[in-house]
């Protein structure tokens, strides 16, 4: 189903933010919309966005390639991205990250066997005073979780699993 059929109000609202002659500005918000269901932008969605904004699908793909929050491939239902930059690492983020990976039996960038969570490192999240912290990217956008421990994180993953949403 196309974006315009599925989210007519949202598309309209996004396009209204920018001057009509500069509608290319809508490419990023439209990509977020496209990622809402599957966690990545499908080829069909990229083509549709390109047509809507009168740019080429290659232009759209170059945006996906440049920005870390856009994806053109299916990964886990949730992407858990842990900040391991210098400030956070001085407060135990590296250790947290490695223990978490061990517990979930994944390596950096891998997805759990059931396809539920992809665990990644991420660059600064602007939460250095509340490390260790991570963001979860899923169908409801992006959520921060701060001052985390491995136990609290595993509990959170369990809660997400139980929230009744089946893995596609």
């Amino acid at each position: 189903m196309s974006l315009i059929d599925k989210y007519p109000q949202e598309v309209k609202k996004i396009l209204a933010k920018y001057p009509p002659e500069h509608k290319r500005s809508a490419v990023m918000p439209l990509l977020y919309l496209a990622q809402r269901d599957e966690g990545y932008a499908t080829r069909e969605a990229m083509q549709e966005i390109a047509d809507m904004l009168e740019i080429t699908p290659t232009d759209v793909a170059s945006i996906i390639g440049f920005y870390t929050l856009f994806h053109d491939q299916k990964e886990g239902r949730y992407r858990m991205q842990v900040c391991t930059d210098v400030s956070c690492a001085m407060r135990g983020a590296d250790q947290f990250f490695h223990e978490l990976c061990e517990n979930l039996q994944v390596k950096v960038g891998e997805t759990t066997k059931d396809g539920f969570v992809t665990v990644e490192e991420v660059k600064c999240l602007a939460g250095c005073d509340k490390a260790p912290l991570f963001q979860i990217q899923g169908e409801n956008g992006i959520e921060y979780h701060e001052n985390m421990t491995v136990d609290k994180t595993l509990e959170l993953i369990e809660a997400l699993r139980k929230s009744g949403k089946e893995v596609k």
Partner: protein, 419 residues
């Protein structure tokens, strides 16, 4: 001290429009729209000595006065792409005191004759963008945005725009490219945004904290603001304190407060009461300051920090104690900049790649002394050759770290010491 920026710490629920208005909110916006000429508003900000809080410290009023009045429309864009490791101040403002920030944006828009303003937030601030969208809707409902504001002909629309994970978009011309729906890569300058900005139109780009000062300056006057801080650096600053301190967080202090006060009075001192070894005052982009008593007693303002061979930048003070080795610190900063280099200019793209490569060799214990020299040489060759400040930033910790802490770059010390 009573806060000027972090007013939510004294006034609960200031993030609700009616509470914000009960505490004088939007009076400054009303005052400028109904009683002042745009250039007079710019004059007040100029006289206040307010300098940009994103890191560069450029005088705000002067930036506004550069707007090209022969080319219309004008735009105002708030830089909410806060992504510097060690910086987390704009997020607190937008989450807890959002209307004061938005009022600052609105006043700026009036001052430069813009009828449209955008807030460009980093993509990770998804929840913050939702907060601001709600605030904007609340403002529209009571006619603080829209047409015929306060019965005048002035109109203003405000929108949020989410980035998608790219540190480089904090650089103002890369931010504008990104807003135009392109890859976030810096433009060649000049022309600067006040003559060629968003969609090629004159544009003011300011940091969130800069905007948040503005309603208070209008309400209380430029002399009041100037009396805070130092001659060179007027007003108050948000210091994001992180690293090995007991109480990390944001602290609003007048410019000129000492590092010692920030670290020990505000931050509660160092974890396990260890000594401070080094400070990075501007996040990962900093030169690393070797700490002694004189450094701790140095006032934090733009000019004084420069005497230490470093910059205050966005005032993201990362504190390093003696459990941390500087070779580890620079391996972290270089990893960051290698990831965030946009790839447009060669010195930054290749230089960061090679710095990372050399650091990996050093970590493996390969010819540590020779590779340290090579690393220093690569960093110095990048300096003054990059298209934007990011390339320069990437070299700061490397050069200062190796030159000021040679003992952390020997075959026996490398790879050791971090908690």
């Amino acid at each position: 001290m009573t806060h000027i920026l972090l007013r939510h710490r004294e006034i609960p629920d200031i993030n609700k429009l009616d509470i914000y208005r009960k505490n004088g909110g939007f009076e400054a916006f009303k005052q400028v729209v109904t009683t002042m000429k745009p250039e007079a508003v710019t004059g007040v900000i100029k006289a206040s000595g307010l300098r940009g809080r994103g890191g560069a410290g450029f005088p705000t009023g002067m930036k506004w006065s550069f707007m090209d009045n022969k080319n219309w429309p004008h735009y105002v864009v708030a830089n909410a792409d806060e992504s510097e490791p060690g910086t987390f101040k704009d997020r607190e403002i937008m989450e807890r005191n959002p209307f004061q920030f938005l009022e600052g944006v609105a006043i700026s828009a009036f001052a430069v004759g813009a009828n449209t303003a955008y807030v460009y937030l980093r993509g990770e601030f998804w929840q913050v963008a939702a907060i601001l969208d709600d605030c904007i809707e609340a403002m529209e409902k009571v006619s603080l945005l829209g047409k015929k504001l306060f019965g005048t002909d002035y109109e203003l629309k405000l929108y949020t725009h989410l980035g998608a994970g790219a540190y480089i978009c904090g650089e103002e011309t890369a931010l504008l490219e990104s807003m135009e729906g392109k890859r976030g890569q810096p433009r060649l300058r000049p022309p600067f945004p006040p003559s060629y900005g968003l969609y090629g139109k004159p544009t003011v780009v300011n940091n969130v904290e800069t905007f948040t000062n503005i309603p208070m300056i209008i309400s209380n006057g430029s002399d009041w603001y100037k009396a805070l801080g130092t001659a060179d650096s007027a007003g108050v600053k948000l210091f994001s304190l992180s690293g090995r301190v007991k109480k990390p967080g944001n602290y609003e202090l007048p410019f000129g407060t000492t590092f010692r006060h920030l670290i020990y009075e505000c931050g509660g001192g160092i974890i396990n009461d260890r000594p401070v070894k080094a400070i990075m005052a501007a996040g990962a982009s900093s030169s690393i300051i070797k700490v002694d008593d004189k450094v701790l007693d140095t006032p934090m303002d733009y000019a004084s920090v420069r005497t230490l061979g470093a910059d205050l930048g966005s005032a993201s003070v990362m504190v390093i104690d003696d459990t941390i080795s500087i070779d580890w610190v620079i391996s972290k900063t270089v990893e960051f900049f290698k990831h965030e280099s946009c790839g447009k200019c060669t010195p930054c793209r290749e230089g960061n790649y090679w710095m990372m490569h050399v650091i990996e060799r050093m970590k493996a214990g390969e010819a540590v002394e020779a590779n340290t020299e090579l690393l220093l040489s690569v960093a110095k060759q990048m300096q003054n050759k990059c298209l934007c400040a990011l390339g320069e930033f990437a070299t700061m910790a490397v050069v200062s770290g190796i030159e000021r802490f040679p003992e952390d770059f020997t075959a026996s010390s490398i790879g050791g010491g971090h908690d």
